[in-house]
Amino acid sequence: MHGLINRSIQGFLRDTYGPATWGLVAHEARLGFDSFEPMLSYAPELTHAVIAAAAKVLNRPKDGLLEDLGTYLVSHPNTEAVRRLLRFGGVTFVDFLHSLEDLPERARLALPDLDLPGLQLAGLGDGEYRLMVSAPFPGMGAVMVGLLRAMADDYGALVLLDRSGDAAGADLVLIQLLDHRHSSGRHFDLVGQGLA
């Protein structure tokens, strides 16, 4: 698993629950170190171990934690880069939804060894969309739900999200767009601070 993903999980736990809790999770997961390096690769088992350990230490279901992780990625100041890179996907939330299919390829432009889950969007009409998340490991659907909820807020759209698994093991996320201009959302400049 790419260190960036592990580091994001670590950042989420540390920024949300404090360094002491992260320390407990790292110990419970038997990492043998206290911090992931975002630019190195790790065995996938470590990622599973960390998520399982976090669920145990915090006494919360995995899915709820993973949804919060998705929201954290978009809304926390420490991961502003993720929000910005996602916002490049489109001018409106619907544009953004359609850009999700390009996301793994976009990510590979910057980091050739970063494997993001495959994403396929189907328009069901009447403001309804279905996102199929084919991840190398389960739980990515929950992350996407949290991420989509936060991105809808970012664009100022009002959405209902619902998640179910399908037979092939992929996660399905049902997106109902109730109002694409519910609020003004957050501002987005094409060129970020410090990049001019």
């Binding site: 190195l40 910057a110 400049d189 990049l195």
Partner: protein, 338 residues
């Protein structure tokens, strides 16, 4: 090979707004070089008062090579790649080309080229300011993604560098000779004190080493130091410790050693071997060694400072007595002076 024959087509006629969508950074000149149309994104970059009706030479200038934008200059470069500066913001050099229109005028289409980041920031441009086919937004995305990755790599490098420095500080080995270093020596002495175990200690200083460095160079000096390390390793047991604690200074620790005669024997062997010439690139390097010795049993408790000072004093006595010899510390040795 093309399957379809090229059928002659009537000229394409586009309304100006349609052309604006295709080329949001273009302007049109009439036959005299007067600006008659400015597409919306380009308009954002030009003076607010507007440039319609002004000669293009008051608004744009050619660069690389620098030239005015008179119609003759522009016509001479039809179809060529232009570098164009905006006179109201001359450090922004755009790329473009000029093509003739049927009415005798010119269309100049522009693009930001390498300045895109700066232009987008400076003029607050959005996705809507670019043609749907334009790759600018992808490029901005890439710039941002690469910058984020570079920032992560930079911090990784800093952390690795910090870890390397820390590892070097914690290292117990002298990298030149492979002997133990001062840190390892201190750890071992503390360990022996903790065990309450007696030991012998030798302080060895090389004689004539500086001359080797000065006359034959540092490579020869390094070679000699490695030879000395080899000798010290061979003349001590695995349980003893030989450390390089300075340029040409060594300390040897002999755990369990309480016999002055034993220590003197070892010292004599070391000194004999140090006197044998060492070869470096067909040059004979001659050094010698002076040794001062102490036995921990002579002290009431583990007083390293006193032991070191006494070993130094004994070493000094060896030097004074003509070098190439070993002296066991005893009370009454002349004190070390300078």
């Amino acid at each position: 090979m093309t399957i379809f024959a090229r059928i002659p087509m009537a000229p394409v006629t586009l309304e100006s707004p349609a052309l604006d969508r295709l080329m949001p950074l273009h302007l049109r000149l009439d036959e005299q070089g007067v600006i008659r149309w400015v597409a919306p994104t380009l308009a954002k970059l030009l003076p607010e008062a507007g440039v319609l009706g002004h000669p293009v030479s008051q608004v744009l200038a050619l660069r690389r090579p620098a030239a005015p934008t008179e119609m003759a200059d522009l016509r001479a470069r039809i179809g060529a790649r232009l570098h164009v500066a905006l006179l109201n913001d001359p450090d922004l050099v755009l790329r473009g080309h000029a093509l003739p229109t049927t009415d005798g005028g010119l269309v100049i289409n522009l693009s930001f080229g390498i300045w895109v980041n700066e232009a987008v920031r400076r003029y607050g441009l959005t996705v809507a300011d670019f043609a749907a086919t334009d790759l600018t937004v992808e490029m901005l995305y890439l710039v941002e993604a690469k910058s984020a990755v570079m920032a992560e790599l930079r911090s990784l490098n800093l952390r690795l560098h910090g870890a390397k420095v820390a590892a070097e500080q914690q290292a117990l080995t002298d990298t030149l000779t492979g002997l133990r270093n001062r840190r390892a020596l201190e750890l071992r002495l503390a360990e022996l004190a903790g065990q309450g175990r007696p030991f012998g200690l030798m302080h060895l200083d090389l004689d004539f080493f500086k001359q080797i460095n000065d006359t034959l160079g540092h490579a020869a000096g390094d070679h000699v130091l490695r030879q000395v390390a080899q000798i010290l390793t061979e003349e001590t047991r695995a349980t003893d410790l030989a450390a390089r604690v300075g340029g040409d200074e060594f300390v040897l620790v002999f755990p369990g050693q309480t016999e002055a005669a034993q220590l003197e024997l070892i010292a004599a062997r070391i000194i004999d071997r140090l006197c044998e010439p060492m070869c470096f690139e067909d040059q004979a390097c001659r050094i010698a060694g002076s040794i001062g010795m102490v036995l921990s049993a002579a002290y009431s408790g583990p007083d390293f400072e006193a032991m070191h000072a006494d070993a130094d004093q004994a070493l000094y006595a060896s030097k004074r007595a003509g070098r190439g010899r070993a002296t066991m510390y005893r009370a009454g040795l002349p004190p070390e002076t300078g």
